[in-house]
Amino acid sequence: MPAKVHTEKQSMSQSTSTPVLRTHNLAKTFALGFFRKKVHAVRDVSLEVKKGEIFGLLGPNGAGKTTTLKVLMGLIKPTAGSAEVFGRPAGHIVAKAQLGYLPESPYFYDYLTSLEFLVLVGELCGLRRRESRLRAEKLLERVELSHAANLALRRYSKGMLQRVGLAQALINNPQLVVLDEPLTGLDPLGRKQLRELIAELRNEGKTVVLSSHILSDVEALADRVAILVKGRMVASGKLSELLDTRVINTEITISSPPEALVKALAAHDITPRLVGDVAHFTLEQESATDEVVDLIRTHGARLMALIPRKESLEDVVVRQAAVVDAQSESPNAQTPNAKTGGA
């Protein structure tokens, strides 16, 4: 695969330091339940995250995102392959000292206040009590929870717990911040604040890895993404590389179309959907756009909107999921490599 070699060389020249995160052919199989039924949570994931980038781990539910992250956090031991953090095996105490992790839908001690909890977490990171307390107070301010600092965590709402989770991930001023589904459970304002915070982290030179099944969240934030489907990495690279830049279709909205126009459109196999006196239709071929617009204008109808729709990350995931499905049905299933850029 010459393309891959090329990008790897590029990344070598960009930074000679070890990648912040690296997995190589990572696989994890769980034996669950009484009959030790085998579940392949992660089959083959090789990825690399460089210093200072925001990396998105994408995929539908059950794709293996959380398992991959847990392996990297040292919570789960890989069945095959390797996982490294700051050049050390995942779970190594030196690696853990430089990272902060927000688990999926985090839950903490009911009977502690958020301040007490953060002080505890700070102490586990090796901070002295006094320093831990200072940082905890600052972080509570940063996630806008100062007012609830002395409230027991069992009284917190889900969104508030998510903020506490973020604060605890940052208590040791980590170089790498790993966030598992950080935007889930947040209200629109909370999501906006979190996006801003992630951007701030990037400006501070930190590396951020976040997973999500909500693609638009990652689309707006991540420099690079990896897409997991059924435990396999089906694509990775810059968003601009992964997304097909061609226009898929064009959505057109016009107001009060005369009868003659509707007939003329029908000749082009277009049947507009009428809502009141507004008509919507989708143009599948980009080349027909000019012609259709001319028709609309000559019939004296008003063009309200013309939206060319390009491939979104959502489309990529759906496309890749279909490929994986098709391959897993064939006996000699191999990792689909439709678009594996420099990981």
């Binding site: 985090p106 007490e116 505890l120």
Partner: protein
């Protein structure tokens, strides 16, 4: 060590706020009421009854609390997912288990102290005092509870609270019967069964060291007021408890270090 201590204090704090200490109130009421009621039935034996009931009650309560909290100790962290937040911090997994165990031990130590004071208060109200042997027996009770705690934590590091509870209670009962098991093993002629019983009595902790009432130690029948339980005996028993606890904890740590947190 600071990290272990942070977990210890946190475990202690959670236990206290979880209203575990209400059990102490229950204990106090029970000891006072029972000693009054039975005392009235047995002329001139009030003090002996209070001591017997008080010590038996202490032991029973502490063991129940140790098992009840112990089997939930690690499991709750998994169930509540708190372990996902704590273990990615720069700590070793064994530090986590050790901290949890020490936190529960600290909780039980404070409870032992409070129960001892309640018992002392009841005795004083009856015009008796807490003699040296009673203090020594209380120390023994505490060390037995430490062993039971370690066993509960051991099971809880890989099993569900229900199963852990069953296993721990089972080992506790076997441990209390070690001399009896050995006696039976000596009498049985069937060699396989005999060596099985020998094996069991060798593996489970001999908890009879810690609850001496009615036991035969060094060929002597012991009553609670027996003064022969000297500090040397308590020291040996404490040493045995410490070694047994350390071994069980090592196993618990090893198991906990190997497992996946899905």
């Amino acid at each position: 060590m600071r990290k272990v201590w942070a977990i210890t204090l946190n475990t202690f704090r959670e236990a206290i706020r979880n209203k575990v200490l209400y059990s102490l109130l229950f204990f106090a009421v029970l000891v006072i009421v029972a000693s009054r009621a039975f005392g009235a039935l047995s002329v001139n034996e009030e003090v002996r009854l209070t001591v017997d009931l008080g010590l038996a009650g202490m032991s029973l309560f502490l063991v129940i609390i140790a098992i009840f909290i112990g089997v939930n100790l690690v499991y709750k962290e998994l169930e509540r997912k708190t372990v996902y937040t704590l273990l990615p911090k720069p700590i070793h997994r064994y530090q986590f288990v050790l901290g949890k165990f020490l936190g529960l031990t600290l909780t039980l130590f404070i409870q032992t102290l409070v129960m001892a004071f309640v018992l002392a208060a009841v005795l004083w109200s009856q015009g008796a005092e807490v003699s040296g042997p009673i203090v020594r027996l209380m120390v023994l009770i505490f060390f037995e509870v430490v062993v039971v705690t370690a066993i509960a934590v051991f099971f809880s590091s890989f099993s569900t609270p229900f199963l852990s509870g069953m296993f721990t209670i089972g080992i506790f009962l076997l441990g209390r019967s070690v001399p009896d098991i050995r006696a039976v093993a000596a009498k049985i002629t069937q060699p396989l069964l005999s060596s099985l019983l020998e094996g069991v009595s060798a593996i489970v902790p001999n908890l009879r060291y810690y609850f001496v009432t009615g036991a035969d130690i060094k060929g002597q029948h012991v009553s609670v007021n027996g003064t022969f339980v000297d500090w040397g005996y308590v020291g040996t028993a404490a040493g045995y408890a410490s070694i047994y606890t350390a071994l069980v904890l090592l196993f618990a740590m090893a198991l906990f270090s190997r497992r996946d947190f899905i």
